[in-house]
Amino acid sequence: MVLLPCPHCGPRDAAEFGYVGERAARPDPGAATPQQWRGYLYLRRNPAGWADELWLHRAGCGRYLAMSRHTVTGDIRAVRDAATGGAD
């Protein structure tokens, strides 16, 4: 079981978390072209490397977490509560 470091609860089994998706800025719904909007909806960076992701600590503190995770090694280099600011 992979351990994920919750900034609140400490390292916990991945089974407690929900993966939400890559973090991506929501385009301005009033101005976005279909192309831009659907890029936001469907296209993914999907890197084999560091990915900026949104997770939910579902069975723990219930907080959404912004995580920088390496998709090959599983390492996590940064994690913070999604509600608290931070460079996106």
């Binding site: 069975a59 723990g60 219930g62």
Partner: protein, 229 residues
């Protein structure tokens, strides 16, 4: 290995009052409650204040205290954005007590239950038999919350700060300990160093899992003769 012959018992404490507090961790209410995340603190004789999330607290108290407790806490948070909600009916609550309580729980829960990781007064929310459960280690015998709202044994636990949340001079908590003797030697996961004491855990989950929680505790405790009281 694990030569254990010990008692472990469980009690359904669902009837206890439960009040959820949501507030800014930097606000006045948070300061008044003054319980760090991951800790549960006995406040006077009236409530066990459990910090369940960075911006959430759960207050457990005798069954008839929900309404006064809500009022009291609301008063503490007046002027800031805070929510105090009576969630007494939303959760099932069980207490697992005994020298093998940790061994039973270790069959269901992945968190390290040894003292260095989860000492008395610690709380965490994690999966127990696949269900999200708030676990509070609450060994302190005096002032222990159990089912019902019977007579009082006023005595502060080690974290007790009398008076802060006192609701009324007459209502206070039950401390319905059945046994006076500490349990005999028991086993703990890997080692047995910090085991031979009686431990007590409060387990809180969504109310609809009440029977399920009871069933899995019974099953896991079978080898130690777990009994419900």
């Amino acid at each position: 290995m694990a030569e254990v012959s010990v008692e472990v018992s469980a009690t359904d404490c669902t009837d206890l009052a439960k009040v959820l507090v949501r507030a800014d961790p930097g606000g006045a209410l948070a300061a008044a409650l003054d319980v760090p995340f991951g800790r549960a603190v006995r406040d006077g004789n009236d409530a066990l204040v459990v910090r369940t999330a960075p911006d959430a607290w759960l207050l457990l108290a005798a069954a008839d205290l929900a309404t006064p407790l809500v009022r009291r806490v609301e008063a503490l948070g007046a002027g800031e954005f805070a929510s105090v909600v009576d969630v007494t009916h939303g959760h099932a609550l069980a207490r697992l007590t005994g020298t093998t309580a940790a061994v039973v729980l270790a069959k269901l829960c992945a968190i390290d239950l040894a003292d260095p990781a989860t000492p008395d007064g610690n709380t965490f929310r994690s999966l127990v038999a696949g269900v999200a459960v708030t676990v509070v280690r609450d060994d302190a015998r005096p002032g222990r919350l159990t089912a019902g709202s019977a007579g009082a044994t006023p005595a502060g636990g080690r974290d007790a700060r009398p008076g802060r949340l006192t609701v009324s001079p007459t209502a206070s908590l039950a401390s319905l300990d059945r046994s006076d003797a500490l349990g005999s030697a028991g086993a703990t996961p890997a080692g047995g160093r910090d085991a031979e004491r009686e431990r007590s855990y409060l387990l809180l989950c969504d109310r609809s899992y009440r029977q399920y929680l009871r069933d899995v505790l019974t099953d896991a405790g079978e080898e130690f003769g777990l009994a419900w009281t």
